[in-house]
């Protein structure tokens, strides 16, 4: 029981807490574009415009940005273990 709980805690959060360094499908480095993307899409530009401008042309890379939620800030407040 304890073991399964541990695994539950580790995998799903570990995967997507912070933007992946590279696209999981095509290997393109994408992490450095995330802050820009977040800021610009919060300032009213559509996600499509921003992604086109950042030269994310394949749908694998675009999916990484569309589906990502920054959970690290939330998770970091609790004790690791």
């Amino acid at each position: 029981m304890t073991q399964s709980l541990e695994l539950k805690g580790k995998n799903p959060t570990g995967r997507k807490m912070i933007i992946p360094i590279r696209c999981m499908s095509c290997n393109k480095p994408i992490a450095h574009l995330w802050e820009d993307f977040k800021e610009r899409s919060a300032n009213g530009e559509t996600k499509k415009e921003v992604m086109d401008d950042l030269d994310l042309k394949r749908y694998c890379c675009r999916a990484q940005f569309m589906g990502h939620v920054d959970l690290l800030d939330e998770v970091a407040r609790f004790k690791r273990g």
Binding site: H32, L72, A76
Partner: protein, 251 residues
């Protein structure tokens, strides 16, 4: 074989028209680029202190994927000696740890995308590690792959009707609209996008030739496109030499 450079973007993505070749040859080049052209990447990480929310192994995995600028001369493994460089980092939160904060011992080896976030630190959280970057090949780990290469048959547009050309220019969402003087000549050299293909009523306007290919090399940053092609030559020569040697042994 004839190679013509069609376009080159700021990030190094280059398109070539290669004529007089075949899919099997191009696929060999593609596989050599992905699997055999060596680059540097962080290989081992000695974590001294990590009180961030990410586990040590997650952190090491992220560090491994960081793109490092590579000196091509150092890449090729000489006398079984891999070239290694240490990168160190020591930070205390609250902050976002960026790849550019790593201090490299070799000024020629550094993270290309400095603003790559490694981890976020809150107050009282610390991170300290020594990472060792080493040369390696894409067949060991995909982080060593220098580029993505893909190819397709070169689409020659053949439109004789001016009205049809105009319609395609109107329907193209990306490039064709930028063609200010919408002449037949321009549209016939325009690279096809799905929007253009949608504008074509039938496929009769697209012609392909058996031996002409549109090849794209999209480098990730470790090496420039030129360096990748140079290394491709060295790699394939080495492999062929090796093969020749083995064949001689059999004789």
């Amino acid at each position: 074989m004839e190679i013509k450079l069609l376009s080159k973007k700021e990030d190094g993505t280059s398109k070539f028209l290669i004529s007089g070749t075949s899919v099997s040859i191009l696929n060999m080049y593609r596989r050599l680029i992905v699997n055999k052209v060596p680059t540097m990447a962080i290989d081992t990480v000695e974590i001294i202190e990590n009180s961030s929310a990410l586990y040590d192994d997650m952190l090491a995995h992220r560090l491994g994927l960081v793109v490092l600028k590579t000196d091509l001369d150092a890449c090729f493994i000489k006398d079984n000696q891999r070239y290694t460089v240490d990168l160190t980092l020591e930070v205390e939160g609250p902050c976002i740890v960026f790849a550019e904060q790593m201090k490299s011992k070799d000024p020629g080896v550094f993270p290309i995308h400095g603003k790559t976030p490694i981890v976020k630190l809150l107050e009282n959280q610390k991170l300290k590690f020594v990472a060792t970057a080493a040369t390696g090949e894409g067949k060991e780990h995909t982080k060593h792959s220098p580029a993505l290469m893909y190819y397709e048959k070169y689409p020659y547009l053949n439109i004789k009707d001016a009205k049809k050309a105009e319609a395609i220019i109107q329907s193209c969402p990306i490039d064709a609209k930028k063609l200010e003087d919408s002449k037949l000549k321009d549209i016939n050299t325009h690279e096809l996008c799905p929007g253009c293909i949608g504008g074509l009523e039938d496929d009769n306007h697209i012609e392909t030739k058996d031996a002409d290919y549109l090849v794209t090399i999209e480098p990730w940053g470790q090496l420039t496109t030129g360096e990748i092609i140079e290394a491709l030559g060295t790699v394939s020569n080495n492999l062929l030499d090796e093969l020749a040697k083995e064949i001689k042994k059999i004789k």
